[in-house]
C-alpha cells in the first residue's frame, strides 16, 4: 500500500516566482507613465531662488519656459559670462520673446489660450534689468500671466 504514501519532510517548498514579472511590469508601467523627459537642454546656470508663498502649476503643457542665467561652463568661452536668455534650445535676445510667445499660442488649442502662462526660470544671480526687458516684451505680446519659478521654502 505504498501508493498513497504521503511525502514527508523535504524542507520548505520554494516560493513561486511566477508572478514576479507581473509585479515588476506593474511598477514599470507606473514609472513609464509618470516619467516626463526633459525637452530642453539647459544652456544656462539655473539655480532658482526660494520663496514660501508659492503656488503649484497645474498643467505644465500650458507653460512656456524662459530661462535666464549665465551660460554653463562649456559655453562661457563662446557666449561670455553675463546672464542671457534661453528660449527653447538656443540663446536669444529679449526682442525674440514676442515671437516665442506667439509660437506657443499658435500651437495651443483656442480654448486654452487664455490659460497660457509664461514661466520665468531665472538664476539667482541674474539682474533685474534683463528680467524687466522680458517683462516689457511680454506686456507688448499681451502675455500677462507670468510665474516666477522658485523652489519652495518651508518656514
Amino acid at each position: 500500500m505504498s501508493r498513497f504514501k504521503k511525502k514527508k519532510g523535504g524542507g520548505t517548498p520554494a516560493i513561486s516566482t511566477a508572478s514576479l514579472p507581473d509585479i515588476v511590469f506593474m511598477l514599470l508601467f507606473f514609472f513609464m507613465v509618470t516619467t516626463v523627459m526633459r525637452e530642453t537642454t539647459l544652456l544656462v546656470e539655473n539655480t532658482l531662488p526660494q520663496a514660501s508663498e508659492v503656488k503649484k502649476i497645474e498643467d505644465k503643457s500650458l507653460c512656456s519656459y524662459i530661462y535666464v542665467g549665465a551660460p554653463v561652463a562649456g559655453m562661457k568661452s563662446k557666449f561670455g559670462t553675463e546672464p542671457r536668455i534661453q528660449l527653447n534650445d538656443a540663446f536669444r535676445l529679449s526682442s525674440d520673446v514676442q515671437e516665442f510667445v506667439a509660437a506657443k499660442r499658435e500651437s495651443t488649442s483656442e480654448e486654452k489660450i487664455p490659460q497660457l502662462i509664461t514661466c520665468i526660470k531665472a538664476d539667482v544671480d541674474a539682474k533685474m534689468g534683463l528680467i524687466s526687458d522680458i517683462k516689457q516684451e511680454l506686456r507688448k505680446a499681451k502675455a500677462f500671466k507670468i510665474n516666477y519659478a522658485t523652489f519652495e521654502r518651508v518656514e
Binding site: L28, V54, K55, K56, I57, G129, I131, Y148, T150
Partner: protein
C-alpha cells in the same frame, strides 16, 4: 512524420528584462512639480494716456524701492528685508488710525520699484514678503470668520476675503538709476 509541438519559450528571463526597463525609468524619472510666484502684468499704457496717480492719496501708497546694491528703501526709510512683512501688514491693516498709513486695505496700494541692477534673488524675496503679508492678513480674517485658512476656503467665501484684502502690488516702469 511525427508532429512535434513547438517548445514553449522560456519566460524566465522576462523578469530580468522588465527589471532592466524599470531601473531605467526609475533613474530618469523626475517628480518635480513646478512651483512659483504667480503675478499678472499690467497692460501696456497707451501712447497718449498720461498716468494720473495724483488722485490716489499719498498715505495709501506704500513705496518700496530696491536699489542696485539690493538695499531696501520703504517709505523713505532704510529697512531690512526681515521687517518688510510686518511693515506691510501694519500699513495694510491700519484702518485710518495712523495718518501716515493706509485708509483701508481696499484703497491701499503697494508700489514696488526696482533698479536694473537689483539681483533677481532680492526681487523674489521682496515679492515673497509682500505676498506673505497679504496672505497672513487674509488668513487671520478667514480664521476669524470661517475658522479656516484662506487657501482652504471655497467659492464666495474666498472671494469675500479677497475683496477685503485685494492684492494690489503695482510695479513702476523700470528705471535705470544705479547705473550698472
Amino acid at each position: 512524420m511525427s508532429r512535434r509541438s513547438l517548445p514553449e519559450i522560456n519566460a524566465g528571463s522576462m523578469a530580468d528584462i522588465a527589471f532592466l526597463l524599470l531601473i531605467f525609468f526609475l533613474v530618469t524619472t523626475t517628480m518635480d512639480v513646478d512651483t512659483g510666484l504667480v503675478r499678472k502684468l499690467p497692460a501696456m499704457p497707451e501712447e497718449e494716456e498720461i498716468l494720473d496717480d495724483s488722485q490716489i492719496k499719498a498715505r495709501n501708497i506704500y513705496v518700496v524701492l530696491v536699489n542696485a546694491k539690493d538695499q531696501l528703501l520703504v517709505e523713505e526709510e532704510l529697512m531690512d528685508i526681515s521687517q518688510l512683512r510686518e511693515g506691510t501688514k501694519a500699513f495694510l491693516d491700519n484702518w485710518g488710525k495712523d495718518p501716515n498709513l493706509s485708509d483701508n486695505p481696499q484703497k491701499a496700494i503697494v508700489s514696488l520699484q526696482n533698479d536694473r541692477g537689483t539681483s533677481y534673488e532680492m526681487y523674489i524675496s521682496v515679492q515673497n514678503e509682500l505676498s506673505a503679508a497679504y496672505r497672513e492678513l487674509r488668513d487671520r480674517e478667514a480664521q476669524k470668520k470661517f475658522g479656516v485658512n484662506y487657501m482652504e476656503l471655497k467659492g464666495d467665501n474666498k472671494k469675500e476675503i479677497r475683496k477685503m484684502f485685494p492684492e494690489k502690488i503695482s510695479e513702476a516702469e523700470p528705471k535705470n538709476v544705479g547705473g550698472n
